[in-house]
Symmetry: C2
Amino acid sequence: MQAVLDAGGEAVSRLMAQAELRMAELAAGHGPVLARYAGETIAAGGKRLRPLLVYLAAGVPPPETDALVRAAVAVELVHGATLVHDDVLDGSDLRRGRPTVVATGGRWMATATGDLLFARAFAELAHVSVAAVRVLARASTELARGELMQRRDAWKAEVSVERYLARCRLKTAVLFRAACELGALESASRASLAPFGEGIGLAFQILDDVLDVSGPPERTGKPRGADLLDGTVTLPLIIARSRDPELAALDLRTVRAPDDAARVCERIAATGAPGVARGRAMDLVAEAKSTLPSLPGRQRSALELVADGVVERYA
Amino acid sequence: MQAVLDAGGEAVSRLMAQAELRMAELAAGHGPVLARYAGETIAAGGKRLRPLLVYLAAGVPPPETDALVRAAVAVELVHGATLVHDDVLDGSDLRRGRPTVVATGGRWMATATGDLLFARAFAELAHVSVAAVRVLARASTELARGELMQRRDAWKAEVSVERYLARCRLKTAVLFRAACELGALESASRASLAPFGEGIGLAFQILDDVLDVSGPPERTGKPRGADLLDGTVTLPLIIARSRDPELAALDLRTVRAPDDAARVCERIAATGAPGVARGRAMDLVAEAKSTLPSLPGRQRSALELVADGVVERYA
Protein backbone atom coordinates (compact mmCIF):
# COMPACT_ATOMS: atom_id res chain seq x y z
CA MET A 1 0.00 0.00 0.00
CA GLN A 2 3.04 2.32 0.05
CA ALA A 3 2.34 3.19 -3.59
CA VAL A 4 -1.17 4.24 -2.62
CA LEU A 5 0.09 6.43 0.20
CA ASP A 6 2.54 8.03 -2.24
CA ALA A 7 -0.25 8.61 -4.75
CA GLY A 8 -2.49 10.05 -2.04
CA GLY A 9 0.12 12.54 -0.95
CA GLU A 10 1.12 13.77 2.47
CA ALA A 11 -2.42 14.66 3.46
CA VAL A 12 -3.42 10.99 3.32
CA SER A 13 -0.45 9.96 5.47
CA ARG A 14 -1.32 12.63 8.02
CA LEU A 15 -4.95 11.53 8.07
CA MET A 16 -3.99 7.87 8.48
CA ALA A 17 -1.83 8.84 11.45
CA GLN A 18 -4.71 10.80 12.93
CA ALA A 19 -7.02 7.81 12.62
CA GLU A 20 -4.48 5.69 14.52
CA LEU A 21 -4.22 8.25 17.28
CA ARG A 22 -7.96 8.55 17.56
CA MET A 23 -8.44 4.78 17.72
CA ALA A 24 -5.77 4.47 20.40
CA GLU A 25 -7.53 7.19 22.41
CA LEU A 26 -10.87 5.44 22.06
CA ALA A 27 -9.44 2.09 23.10
CA ALA A 28 -7.88 3.65 26.20
CA GLY A 29 -10.91 5.65 27.26
CA HIS A 30 -13.19 2.97 28.70
CA GLY A 31 -11.43 1.42 31.65
CA PRO A 32 -8.22 -0.62 31.84
CA VAL A 33 -9.73 -4.00 30.98
CA LEU A 34 -11.43 -2.94 27.80
CA ALA A 35 -8.41 -0.79 26.97
CA ARG A 36 -6.35 -3.94 26.72
CA TYR A 37 -8.74 -5.92 24.56
CA ALA A 38 -10.09 -3.09 22.45
CA GLY A 39 -6.49 -1.95 21.99
CA GLU A 40 -5.40 -5.41 20.89
CA THR A 41 -8.28 -5.66 18.45
CA ILE A 42 -7.50 -2.31 16.94
CA ALA A 43 -3.78 -2.98 16.84
CA ALA A 44 -4.40 -6.28 15.07
CA GLY A 45 -6.50 -4.47 12.51
CA GLY A 46 -4.25 -5.00 9.54
CA LYS A 47 -3.77 -2.75 6.60
CA ARG A 48 -6.36 -0.05 7.34
CA LEU A 49 -7.74 -0.48 3.86
CA ARG A 50 -11.19 0.78 4.86
CA PRO A 51 -9.99 4.09 6.40
CA LEU A 52 -7.78 4.57 3.34
CA LEU A 53 -10.81 4.16 1.10
CA VAL A 54 -12.76 6.69 3.16
CA TYR A 55 -9.98 9.22 2.63
CA LEU A 56 -9.41 8.61 -1.07
CA ALA A 57 -13.16 8.65 -1.75
CA ALA A 58 -13.24 12.16 -0.27
CA GLY A 59 -10.70 13.46 -2.80
CA VAL A 60 -6.96 13.56 -3.44
CA PRO A 61 -5.77 15.32 -1.44
CA PRO A 62 -8.67 14.67 0.95
CA PRO A 63 -9.98 17.51 3.09
CA GLU A 64 -8.15 17.31 6.42
CA THR A 65 -11.23 17.58 8.59
CA ASP A 66 -12.19 16.12 11.91
CA ALA A 67 -15.35 14.69 10.31
CA LEU A 68 -13.34 12.72 7.75
CA VAL A 69 -11.06 11.21 10.39
CA ARG A 70 -14.06 10.21 12.49
CA ALA A 71 -15.73 8.57 9.49
CA ALA A 72 -12.56 6.60 8.77
CA VAL A 73 -12.27 5.55 12.41
CA ALA A 74 -15.94 4.52 12.54
CA VAL A 75 -15.59 2.12 9.61
CA GLU A 76 -12.48 0.55 11.09
CA LEU A 77 -14.17 0.15 14.48
CA VAL A 78 -17.12 -1.67 12.93
CA HIS A 79 -14.66 -3.86 11.09
CA GLY A 80 -12.93 -4.62 14.41
CA ALA A 81 -16.25 -5.33 16.12
CA THR A 82 -17.22 -7.90 13.50
CA LEU A 83 -13.83 -9.58 13.72
CA VAL A 84 -14.10 -9.98 17.49
CA HIS A 85 -17.63 -11.34 17.30
CA ASP A 86 -16.66 -13.70 14.47
CA ASP A 87 -13.81 -15.03 16.55
CA VAL A 88 -16.20 -15.69 19.45
CA LEU A 89 -18.45 -17.70 17.20
CA ASP A 90 -15.66 -19.55 15.42
CA GLY A 91 -13.72 -20.06 18.64
CA SER A 92 -10.65 -18.86 16.69
CA ASP A 93 -7.38 -18.71 18.59
CA LEU A 94 -5.33 -16.70 16.14
CA ARG A 95 -6.00 -13.74 13.90
CA ARG A 96 -3.19 -12.30 11.80
CA GLY A 97 -0.74 -14.30 13.86
CA ARG A 98 -1.87 -12.86 17.20
CA PRO A 99 -4.05 -14.49 19.85
CA THR A 100 -7.69 -13.42 19.55
CA VAL A 101 -9.63 -11.66 22.30
CA VAL A 102 -11.78 -14.73 22.81
CA ALA A 103 -8.62 -16.83 23.28
CA THR A 104 -7.05 -14.49 25.83
CA GLY A 105 -10.08 -12.90 27.49
CA GLY A 106 -12.89 -15.38 26.99
CA ARG A 107 -16.32 -15.08 25.42
CA TRP A 108 -17.62 -12.37 27.73
CA MET A 109 -14.70 -10.13 27.09
CA ALA A 110 -14.88 -10.64 23.34
CA THR A 111 -18.63 -10.05 23.13
CA ALA A 112 -18.39 -6.93 25.29
CA THR A 113 -15.38 -5.66 23.34
CA GLY A 114 -17.24 -6.08 20.07
CA ASP A 115 -20.31 -4.31 21.45
CA LEU A 116 -18.13 -1.49 22.73
CA LEU A 117 -16.32 -0.99 19.43
CA PHE A 118 -19.64 -0.97 17.66
CA ALA A 119 -21.08 1.66 20.01
CA ARG A 120 -17.98 3.83 19.66
CA ALA A 121 -18.24 3.71 15.87
CA PHE A 122 -21.65 5.35 16.03
CA ALA A 123 -20.45 7.76 18.70
CA GLU A 124 -17.83 8.95 16.19
CA LEU A 125 -20.42 9.43 13.46
CA ALA A 126 -22.56 11.44 15.86
CA HIS A 127 -19.94 14.13 15.18
CA VAL A 128 -20.23 13.74 11.41
CA SER A 129 -23.78 13.68 10.03
CA VAL A 130 -27.00 11.72 10.06
CA ALA A 131 -26.26 10.73 6.46
CA ALA A 132 -23.06 9.08 7.66
CA VAL A 133 -24.93 7.27 10.45
CA ARG A 134 -27.42 6.00 7.89
CA VAL A 135 -24.66 4.59 5.68
CA LEU A 136 -22.88 2.76 8.49
CA ALA A 137 -26.06 1.50 10.13
CA ARG A 138 -27.18 -0.03 6.85
CA ALA A 139 -23.82 -1.68 6.33
CA SER A 140 -23.82 -2.98 9.92
CA THR A 141 -27.23 -4.53 9.42
CA GLU A 142 -25.99 -6.36 6.36
CA LEU A 143 -22.85 -7.50 8.15
CA ALA A 144 -25.05 -9.15 10.78
CA ARG A 145 -27.02 -10.88 8.04
CA GLY A 146 -23.77 -12.02 6.43
CA GLU A 147 -22.53 -13.47 9.71
CA LEU A 148 -25.71 -15.45 9.93
CA MET A 149 -25.69 -16.60 6.30
CA GLN A 150 -22.17 -17.91 6.72
CA ARG A 151 -23.37 -19.99 9.62
CA ARG A 152 -26.44 -21.28 7.88
CA ASP A 153 -24.36 -22.37 4.92
CA ALA A 154 -21.70 -23.99 7.06
CA TRP A 155 -20.70 -27.51 5.95
CA LYS A 156 -22.89 -27.23 2.85
CA ALA A 157 -20.40 -28.17 0.16
CA GLU A 158 -23.05 -27.90 -2.55
CA VAL A 159 -23.61 -24.16 -2.03
CA SER A 160 -23.83 -22.27 -5.35
CA VAL A 161 -21.40 -19.64 -6.61
CA GLU A 162 -24.26 -17.13 -6.56
CA ARG A 163 -25.02 -17.82 -2.94
CA TYR A 164 -21.34 -17.68 -2.07
CA LEU A 165 -21.09 -14.25 -3.75
CA ALA A 166 -24.22 -13.02 -1.96
CA ARG A 167 -22.61 -14.03 1.32
CA CYS A 168 -19.34 -12.24 0.43
CA ARG A 169 -21.33 -9.15 -0.39
CA LEU A 170 -23.04 -9.13 3.01
CA LYS A 171 -20.00 -10.20 4.97
CA THR A 172 -17.38 -7.97 3.42
CA ALA A 173 -18.32 -5.89 0.40
CA VAL A 174 -20.93 -3.76 2.17
CA LEU A 175 -18.29 -2.30 4.49
CA PHE A 176 -15.97 -1.41 1.60
CA ARG A 177 -18.98 0.15 -0.04
CA ALA A 178 -19.80 2.08 3.14
CA ALA A 179 -16.19 3.33 3.34
CA CYS A 180 -16.48 4.75 -0.18
CA GLU A 181 -19.90 6.25 0.55
CA LEU A 182 -18.70 7.87 3.78
CA GLY A 183 -15.72 9.43 2.02
CA ALA A 184 -17.89 10.62 -0.86
CA LEU A 185 -20.24 12.35 1.61
CA GLU A 186 -17.31 14.54 2.64
CA SER A 187 -16.09 15.16 -0.92
CA ALA A 188 -16.68 18.26 -2.99
CA SER A 189 -18.39 16.40 -5.85
CA ARG A 190 -20.26 13.76 -3.79
CA ALA A 191 -19.85 11.45 -6.79
CA SER A 192 -21.06 7.93 -5.96
CA LEU A 193 -18.30 5.42 -5.45
CA ALA A 194 -20.59 2.80 -3.94
CA PRO A 195 -20.44 0.27 -6.83
CA PHE A 196 -16.64 0.62 -6.91
CA GLY A 197 -16.42 -0.07 -3.18
CA GLU A 198 -18.72 -3.06 -3.40
CA GLY A 199 -16.82 -4.53 -6.33
CA ILE A 200 -13.40 -4.33 -4.73
CA GLY A 201 -14.87 -5.61 -1.46
CA LEU A 202 -16.12 -8.72 -3.22
CA ALA A 203 -12.73 -9.19 -4.86
CA PHE A 204 -11.05 -8.75 -1.49
CA GLN A 205 -13.11 -11.50 0.10
CA ILE A 206 -12.54 -13.89 -2.79
CA LEU A 207 -8.82 -13.30 -2.51
CA ASP A 208 -8.97 -13.88 1.22
CA ASP A 209 -10.62 -17.19 0.53
CA VAL A 210 -7.99 -18.06 -2.08
CA LEU A 211 -5.24 -17.26 0.43
CA ASP A 212 -6.88 -19.51 3.00
CA VAL A 213 -6.33 -22.38 0.57
CA SER A 214 -3.03 -21.47 -1.03
CA GLY A 215 -1.55 -18.55 0.87
CA PRO A 216 1.69 -18.83 2.81
CA PRO A 217 0.66 -19.05 6.51
CA GLU A 218 3.67 -16.95 7.55
CA ARG A 219 2.24 -14.09 5.50
CA THR A 220 -1.49 -14.52 6.14
CA GLY A 221 -1.01 -15.01 9.91
CA LYS A 222 -3.24 -18.05 10.13
CA PRO A 223 -2.90 -21.73 9.24
CA ARG A 224 -4.07 -22.86 5.81
CA GLY A 225 -7.49 -24.42 5.61
CA ALA A 226 -9.03 -22.50 8.52
CA ASP A 227 -12.21 -22.03 6.46
CA LEU A 228 -12.45 -25.78 5.89
CA LEU A 229 -12.08 -26.44 9.59
CA ASP A 230 -15.02 -24.25 10.46
CA GLY A 231 -17.14 -25.45 7.59
CA THR A 232 -17.00 -22.27 5.50
CA VAL A 233 -17.39 -23.25 1.85
CA THR A 234 -15.56 -20.80 -0.41
CA LEU A 235 -15.06 -20.26 -4.14
CA PRO A 236 -11.86 -22.32 -4.53
CA LEU A 237 -13.62 -25.36 -3.04
CA ILE A 238 -16.79 -24.79 -5.07
CA ILE A 239 -14.75 -24.69 -8.30
CA ALA A 240 -12.52 -27.60 -7.27
CA ARG A 241 -15.54 -29.79 -6.54
CA SER A 242 -16.67 -29.42 -10.15
CA ARG A 243 -13.25 -30.62 -11.31
CA ASP A 244 -12.35 -33.39 -8.89
CA PRO A 245 -14.96 -36.07 -8.12
CA GLU A 246 -13.15 -37.10 -4.94
CA LEU A 247 -13.44 -33.58 -3.58
CA ALA A 248 -17.07 -33.51 -4.69
CA ALA A 249 -17.70 -36.65 -2.62
CA LEU A 250 -15.87 -35.37 0.47
CA ASP A 251 -17.96 -34.91 3.62
CA LEU A 252 -16.64 -31.64 5.04
CA ARG A 253 -17.44 -32.70 8.58
CA THR A 254 -14.73 -35.31 8.38
CA VAL A 255 -12.10 -32.57 7.95
CA ARG A 256 -11.20 -32.01 11.58
CA ALA A 257 -7.47 -31.78 12.10
CA PRO A 258 -5.19 -29.08 10.64
CA ASP A 259 -3.31 -31.82 8.75
CA ASP A 260 -6.53 -33.03 7.07
CA ALA A 261 -7.31 -29.45 6.13
CA ALA A 262 -3.82 -28.94 4.68
CA ARG A 263 -4.25 -32.09 2.56
CA VAL A 264 -7.61 -30.92 1.23
CA CYS A 265 -6.04 -27.54 0.44
CA GLU A 266 -3.34 -29.32 -1.62
CA ARG A 267 -5.99 -31.22 -3.49
CA ILE A 268 -8.00 -28.04 -4.20
CA ALA A 269 -4.81 -26.36 -5.41
CA ALA A 270 -4.05 -29.31 -7.69
CA THR A 271 -7.29 -28.66 -9.62
CA GLY A 272 -6.17 -25.13 -10.44
CA ALA A 273 -9.25 -23.74 -8.68
CA PRO A 274 -7.39 -21.09 -6.64
CA GLY A 275 -6.06 -19.57 -9.89
CA VAL A 276 -9.55 -19.52 -11.39
CA ALA A 277 -10.94 -17.87 -8.26
CA ARG A 278 -8.14 -15.32 -8.30
CA GLY A 279 -9.04 -14.61 -11.94
CA ARG A 280 -12.62 -13.99 -10.89
CA ALA A 281 -11.40 -11.50 -8.28
CA MET A 282 -9.30 -9.74 -10.92
CA ASP A 283 -12.32 -9.49 -13.22
CA LEU A 284 -14.32 -7.95 -10.38
CA VAL A 285 -11.57 -5.40 -9.82
CA ALA A 286 -11.53 -4.48 -13.52
CA GLU A 287 -15.32 -4.17 -13.45
CA ALA A 288 -15.17 -2.06 -10.29
CA LYS A 289 -12.71 0.33 -11.91
CA SER A 290 -15.01 0.68 -14.91
CA THR A 291 -17.81 1.91 -12.62
CA LEU A 292 -15.72 4.86 -11.40
CA PRO A 293 -17.42 8.12 -12.32
CA SER A 294 -15.55 11.02 -13.84
CA LEU A 295 -12.96 11.99 -11.22
CA PRO A 296 -9.85 14.17 -11.04
CA GLY A 297 -6.84 12.23 -12.38
CA ARG A 298 -4.98 11.92 -9.07
CA GLN A 299 -8.01 10.60 -7.24
CA ARG A 300 -8.78 8.08 -9.97
CA SER A 301 -5.19 6.79 -9.99
CA ALA A 302 -5.11 6.41 -6.23
CA LEU A 303 -8.40 4.50 -6.16
CA GLU A 304 -7.24 2.26 -9.01
CA LEU A 305 -4.07 1.49 -7.09
CA VAL A 306 -6.14 0.40 -4.09
CA ALA A 307 -8.26 -1.79 -6.34
CA ASP A 308 -5.18 -3.44 -7.84
CA GLY A 309 -3.70 -3.89 -4.39
CA VAL A 310 -6.70 -5.91 -3.31
CA VAL A 311 -5.88 -8.73 -5.76
CA GLU A 312 -2.12 -8.41 -5.73
CA ARG A 313 -1.69 -9.62 -2.16
CA TYR A 314 0.98 -12.35 -2.09
CA ALA A 315 0.46 -12.92 -5.85
CA MET B 1 -48.70 0.88 33.62
CA GLN B 2 -52.33 1.45 32.63
CA ALA B 3 -52.47 4.43 34.99
CA VAL B 4 -49.49 5.95 33.18
CA LEU B 5 -51.12 5.47 29.80
CA ASP B 6 -54.24 7.13 31.15
CA ALA B 7 -52.17 10.02 32.51
CA GLY B 8 -50.32 10.34 29.21
CA GLY B 9 -53.52 10.56 27.22
CA GLU B 10 -54.47 9.16 23.84
CA ALA B 11 -51.40 10.53 22.12
CA VAL B 12 -49.17 8.28 24.21
CA SER B 13 -51.27 5.21 23.42
CA ARG B 14 -51.13 6.02 19.72
CA LEU B 15 -47.37 6.52 19.88
CA MET B 16 -46.89 3.24 21.75
CA ALA B 17 -48.87 1.45 19.05
CA GLN B 18 -46.75 3.10 16.38
CA ALA B 19 -43.56 1.92 18.07
CA GLU B 20 -44.91 -1.65 18.07
CA LEU B 21 -45.74 -1.45 14.39
CA ARG B 22 -42.37 -0.02 13.53
CA MET B 23 -40.54 -2.70 15.53
CA ALA B 24 -42.55 -5.45 13.86
CA GLU B 25 -41.68 -3.96 10.45
CA LEU B 26 -37.99 -3.82 11.33
CA ALA B 27 -37.98 -7.39 12.59
CA ALA B 28 -39.62 -8.60 9.38
CA GLY B 29 -37.42 -6.63 6.99
CA HIS B 30 -34.17 -8.59 7.09
CA GLY B 31 -34.87 -12.06 5.81
CA PRO B 32 -37.07 -14.83 7.23
CA VAL B 33 -34.55 -16.26 9.68
CA LEU B 34 -33.75 -13.03 11.44
CA ALA B 35 -37.43 -12.10 11.25
CA ARG B 36 -38.21 -15.01 13.52
CA TYR B 37 -35.55 -14.36 16.10
CA ALA B 38 -35.58 -10.57 16.01
CA GLY B 39 -39.36 -10.78 16.18
CA GLU B 40 -39.24 -13.08 19.19
CA THR B 41 -36.79 -10.82 20.96
CA ILE B 42 -38.92 -7.78 20.34
CA ALA B 43 -42.12 -9.59 21.28
CA ALA B 44 -40.53 -10.76 24.52
CA GLY B 45 -39.55 -7.19 25.31
CA GLY B 46 -41.82 -6.70 28.26
CA LYS B 47 -43.45 -3.55 29.40
CA ARG B 48 -41.95 -1.04 26.95
CA LEU B 49 -40.94 1.15 29.83
CA ARG B 50 -38.11 2.75 27.89
CA PRO B 51 -40.22 3.86 24.88
CA LEU B 52 -42.81 5.15 27.34
CA LEU B 53 -40.13 7.26 29.03
CA VAL B 54 -39.01 8.63 25.67
CA TYR B 55 -42.55 9.78 24.99
CA LEU B 56 -43.30 11.25 28.40
CA ALA B 57 -39.93 13.03 28.46
CA ALA B 58 -40.95 14.79 25.26
CA GLY B 59 -44.07 16.27 26.87
CA VAL B 60 -47.64 15.34 27.78
CA PRO B 61 -49.15 15.05 25.30
CA PRO B 62 -45.95 14.27 23.38
CA PRO B 63 -45.49 15.59 19.86
CA GLU B 64 -46.73 12.85 17.50
CA THR B 65 -43.71 12.93 15.21
CA ASP B 66 -41.89 10.31 13.25
CA ALA B 67 -38.66 11.34 15.00
CA LEU B 68 -40.10 10.63 18.43
CA VAL B 69 -41.34 7.17 17.44
CA ARG B 70 -37.96 6.31 15.96
CA ALA B 71 -36.18 7.46 19.11
CA ALA B 72 -38.48 5.26 21.23
CA VAL B 73 -37.92 2.31 18.91
CA ALA B 74 -34.15 2.81 18.95
CA VAL B 75 -33.95 2.61 22.74
CA GLU B 76 -36.07 -0.53 22.83
CA LEU B 77 -33.96 -2.15 20.10
CA VAL B 78 -30.76 -1.51 22.04
CA HIS B 79 -32.47 -2.97 25.10
CA GLY B 80 -33.39 -6.05 23.06
CA ALA B 81 -29.86 -6.35 21.68
CA THR B 82 -28.34 -6.36 25.15
CA LEU B 83 -30.83 -8.98 26.36
CA VAL B 84 -29.97 -11.32 23.49
CA HIS B 85 -26.24 -10.91 24.01
CA ASP B 86 -26.61 -11.37 27.76
CA ASP B 87 -28.50 -14.59 27.19
CA VAL B 88 -25.72 -15.85 24.93
CA LEU B 89 -23.19 -15.22 27.63
CA ASP B 90 -25.28 -16.59 30.46
CA GLY B 91 -26.51 -19.49 28.38
CA SER B 92 -30.01 -18.63 29.65
CA ASP B 93 -32.85 -20.81 28.42
CA LEU B 94 -35.78 -18.66 29.50
CA ARG B 95 -36.51 -14.96 29.53
CA ARG B 96 -39.89 -13.74 30.75
CA GLY B 97 -41.17 -17.28 30.52
CA ARG B 98 -40.24 -17.72 26.86
CA PRO B 99 -37.32 -19.66 25.38
CA THR B 100 -34.38 -17.36 24.58
CA VAL B 101 -32.90 -16.93 21.10
CA VAL B 102 -29.74 -18.69 22.19
CA ALA B 103 -31.83 -21.66 23.40
CA THR B 104 -33.83 -21.99 20.17
CA GLY B 105 -31.41 -20.67 17.55
CA GLY B 106 -27.97 -21.17 19.05
CA ARG B 107 -25.11 -18.80 19.73
CA TRP B 108 -24.62 -17.69 16.15
CA MET B 109 -28.21 -16.73 15.75
CA ALA B 110 -28.30 -14.88 19.04
CA THR B 111 -25.08 -12.96 18.41
CA ALA B 112 -26.19 -12.00 14.91
CA THR B 113 -29.67 -11.06 16.13
CA GLY B 114 -28.18 -8.80 18.79
CA ASP B 115 -25.83 -7.17 16.28
CA LEU B 116 -28.73 -6.64 13.88
CA LEU B 117 -30.98 -5.03 16.50
CA PHE B 118 -28.12 -2.79 17.50
CA ALA B 119 -27.46 -1.70 13.93
CA ARG B 120 -31.17 -1.05 13.34
CA ALA B 121 -31.33 1.15 16.44
CA PHE B 122 -28.76 3.50 14.95
CA ALA B 123 -30.42 3.30 11.56
CA GLU B 124 -33.58 4.65 13.21
CA LEU B 125 -31.69 7.51 14.84
CA ALA B 126 -30.15 8.40 11.48
CA HIS B 127 -33.64 9.79 10.80
CA VAL B 128 -33.68 11.78 14.04
CA SER B 129 -30.55 13.83 14.77
CA VAL B 130 -26.85 13.56 15.48
CA ALA B 131 -27.60 14.63 19.05
CA ALA B 132 -29.82 11.56 19.41
CA VAL B 133 -27.10 9.32 17.97
CA ARG B 134 -24.65 10.76 20.47
CA VAL B 135 -26.94 9.99 23.39
CA LEU B 136 -27.59 6.39 22.40
CA ALA B 137 -24.00 5.69 21.41
CA ARG B 138 -22.79 6.86 24.81
CA ALA B 139 -25.37 4.70 26.57
CA SER B 140 -24.46 1.70 24.42
CA THR B 141 -20.81 2.09 25.30
CA GLU B 142 -21.66 2.07 28.97
CA LEU B 143 -23.92 -0.95 28.56
CA ALA B 144 -20.99 -2.88 27.11
CA ARG B 145 -18.87 -1.84 30.08
CA GLY B 146 -21.63 -2.93 32.43
CA GLU B 147 -21.87 -6.34 30.77
CA LEU B 148 -18.18 -6.76 31.34
CA MET B 149 -18.22 -5.52 34.92
CA GLN B 150 -20.94 -8.02 35.77
CA ARG B 151 -18.72 -10.76 34.48
CA ARG B 152 -15.61 -9.59 36.25
CA ASP B 153 -17.51 -9.45 39.52
CA ALA B 154 -19.11 -12.83 39.05
CA TRP B 155 -18.90 -15.12 42.09
CA LYS B 156 -17.35 -12.35 44.18
CA ALA B 157 -19.63 -12.40 47.20
CA GLU B 158 -17.59 -9.68 48.91
CA VAL B 159 -18.39 -7.05 46.29
CA SER B 160 -19.28 -3.66 47.86
CA VAL B 161 -22.62 -1.88 47.66
CA GLU B 162 -20.89 0.96 45.82
CA ARG B 163 -19.50 -1.34 43.20
CA TYR B 164 -22.85 -3.08 42.87
CA LEU B 165 -24.52 0.30 42.28
CA ALA B 166 -21.86 1.32 39.75
CA ARG B 167 -22.59 -1.89 37.87
CA CYS B 168 -26.36 -1.26 37.95
CA ARG B 169 -25.75 2.20 36.61
CA LEU B 170 -23.76 0.88 33.63
CA LYS B 171 -25.95 -2.14 33.02
CA THR B 172 -29.37 -0.57 33.32
CA ALA B 173 -29.62 3.03 34.46
CA VAL B 174 -27.77 4.52 31.48
CA LEU B 175 -30.47 3.30 29.10
CA PHE B 176 -33.29 4.76 31.20
CA ARG B 177 -31.27 7.95 31.27
CA ALA B 178 -30.83 7.84 27.48
CA ALA B 179 -34.60 7.32 27.04
CA CYS B 180 -35.26 10.49 29.03
CA GLU B 181 -32.57 12.41 27.16
CA LEU B 182 -33.87 11.31 23.77
CA GLY B 183 -37.40 12.37 24.66
CA ALA B 184 -36.18 15.69 26.05
CA LEU B 185 -34.34 16.39 22.77
CA GLU B 186 -37.73 16.35 21.02
CA SER B 187 -39.49 18.40 23.71
CA ALA B 188 -40.32 22.06 23.53
CA SER B 189 -38.41 22.97 26.70
CA ARG B 190 -35.49 20.53 26.32
CA ALA B 191 -35.38 20.43 30.12
CA SER B 192 -32.88 17.81 31.32
CA LEU B 193 -34.47 14.67 32.69
CA ALA B 194 -31.21 12.72 32.69
CA PRO B 195 -30.78 12.47 36.51
CA PHE B 196 -34.41 11.39 36.83
CA GLY B 197 -33.92 8.66 34.24
CA GLU B 198 -30.75 7.44 35.85
CA GLY B 199 -32.33 7.34 39.31
CA ILE B 200 -35.35 5.32 38.32
CA GLY B 201 -33.15 3.04 36.22
CA LEU B 202 -31.06 2.23 39.28
CA ALA B 203 -34.22 1.60 41.29
CA PHE B 204 -35.53 -0.62 38.51
CA GLN B 205 -32.42 -2.80 38.56
CA ILE B 206 -32.44 -3.11 42.33
CA LEU B 207 -36.05 -4.19 42.23
CA ASP B 208 -35.26 -6.70 39.51
CA ASP B 209 -32.62 -8.13 41.78
CA VAL B 210 -35.05 -8.24 44.70
CA LEU B 211 -37.57 -10.09 42.55
CA ASP B 212 -34.93 -12.62 41.55
CA VAL B 213 -34.68 -13.54 45.23
CA SER B 214 -38.26 -13.15 46.39
CA GLY B 215 -40.45 -12.64 43.34
CA PRO B 216 -43.12 -15.15 42.32
CA PRO B 217 -41.65 -17.05 39.33
CA GLU B 218 -45.05 -17.20 37.65
CA ARG B 219 -44.99 -13.40 37.50
CA THR B 220 -41.32 -12.74 36.76
CA GLY B 221 -41.13 -15.43 34.07
CA LYS B 222 -37.92 -16.95 35.36
CA PRO B 223 -37.01 -19.27 38.22
CA ARG B 224 -35.96 -17.72 41.52
CA GLY B 225 -32.26 -17.49 42.17
CA ALA B 226 -31.19 -17.19 38.51
CA ASP B 227 -28.67 -14.52 39.54
CA LEU B 228 -27.16 -16.85 42.13
CA LEU B 229 -26.80 -19.59 39.56
CA ASP B 230 -24.79 -17.40 37.25
CA GLY B 231 -22.75 -15.86 40.00
CA THR B 232 -24.26 -12.38 39.89
CA VAL B 233 -24.00 -10.87 43.37
CA THR B 234 -26.85 -8.44 44.01
CA LEU B 235 -27.95 -6.09 46.77
CA PRO B 236 -30.20 -8.56 48.66
CA LEU B 237 -27.29 -10.99 48.98
CA ILE B 238 -24.82 -8.25 49.91
CA ILE B 239 -27.13 -7.07 52.70
CA ALA B 240 -28.01 -10.60 53.83
CA ARG B 241 -24.33 -11.53 54.13
CA SER B 242 -23.87 -8.76 56.69
CA ARG B 243 -26.72 -10.23 58.73
CA ASP B 244 -26.26 -13.98 58.47
CA PRO B 245 -22.75 -15.43 59.06
CA GLU B 246 -23.68 -18.67 57.31
CA LEU B 247 -24.53 -16.78 54.15
CA ALA B 248 -21.33 -14.76 54.56
CA ALA B 249 -19.37 -18.01 54.61
CA LEU B 250 -21.14 -19.52 51.63
CA ASP B 251 -19.00 -20.21 48.56
CA LEU B 252 -21.26 -19.13 45.69
CA ARG B 253 -19.69 -21.64 43.32
CA THR B 254 -21.27 -24.43 45.30
CA VAL B 255 -24.76 -23.14 44.39
CA ARG B 256 -25.34 -25.13 41.25
CA ALA B 257 -28.80 -26.62 41.12
CA PRO B 258 -32.07 -24.65 41.04
CA ASP B 259 -33.02 -26.27 44.36
CA ASP B 260 -29.84 -25.00 46.03
CA ALA B 261 -30.53 -21.55 44.65
CA ALA B 262 -34.11 -21.62 45.97
CA ARG B 263 -32.83 -22.56 49.43
CA VAL B 264 -30.30 -19.72 49.42
CA CYS B 265 -33.09 -17.37 48.33
CA GLU B 266 -35.17 -18.45 51.34
CA ARG B 267 -32.27 -17.79 53.62
CA ILE B 268 -31.66 -14.35 52.13
CA ALA B 269 -35.35 -13.58 52.52
CA ALA B 270 -35.24 -14.71 56.16
CA THR B 271 -32.73 -11.95 56.96
CA GLY B 272 -35.14 -9.29 55.75
CA ALA B 273 -32.59 -8.16 53.15
CA PRO B 274 -35.04 -8.06 50.20
CA GLY B 275 -37.19 -5.58 52.11
CA VAL B 276 -34.18 -3.40 52.88
CA ALA B 277 -33.12 -3.47 49.24
CA ARG B 278 -36.63 -2.59 48.15
CA GLY B 279 -36.50 0.33 50.58
CA ARG B 280 -33.29 1.50 48.94
CA ALA B 281 -35.00 1.38 45.55
CA MET B 282 -37.90 3.43 46.93
CA ASP B 283 -35.47 6.03 48.28
CA LEU B 284 -33.85 6.25 44.87
CA VAL B 285 -37.25 6.80 43.28
CA ALA B 286 -38.06 9.58 45.74
CA GLU B 287 -34.68 11.16 45.04
CA ALA B 288 -35.19 10.83 41.29
CA LYS B 289 -38.54 12.62 41.53
CA SER B 290 -36.89 15.44 43.47
CA THR B 291 -34.49 16.04 40.57
CA LEU B 292 -37.34 16.74 38.15
CA PRO B 293 -37.07 20.28 36.81
CA SER B 294 -40.03 22.60 36.60
CA LEU B 295 -42.47 20.86 34.25
CA PRO B 296 -46.10 21.21 33.22
CA GLY B 297 -48.32 19.46 35.78
CA ARG B 298 -49.56 16.65 33.53
CA GLN B 299 -46.06 15.74 32.42
CA ARG B 300 -44.74 15.74 35.98
CA SER B 301 -47.59 13.51 37.19
CA ALA B 302 -47.08 11.04 34.37
CA LEU B 303 -43.34 10.80 35.01
CA GLU B 304 -43.95 10.38 38.73
CA LEU B 305 -46.35 7.55 38.01
CA VAL B 306 -43.69 5.78 35.96
CA ALA B 307 -41.21 6.25 38.79
CA ASP B 308 -43.62 4.78 41.31
CA GLY B 309 -44.43 1.92 38.97
CA VAL B 310 -40.79 0.91 38.88
CA VAL B 311 -40.82 -0.04 42.58
CA GLU B 312 -44.41 -1.20 42.83
CA ARG B 313 -43.93 -4.28 40.69
CA TYR B 314 -45.39 -7.29 42.51
CA ALA B 315 -45.17 -5.34 45.78
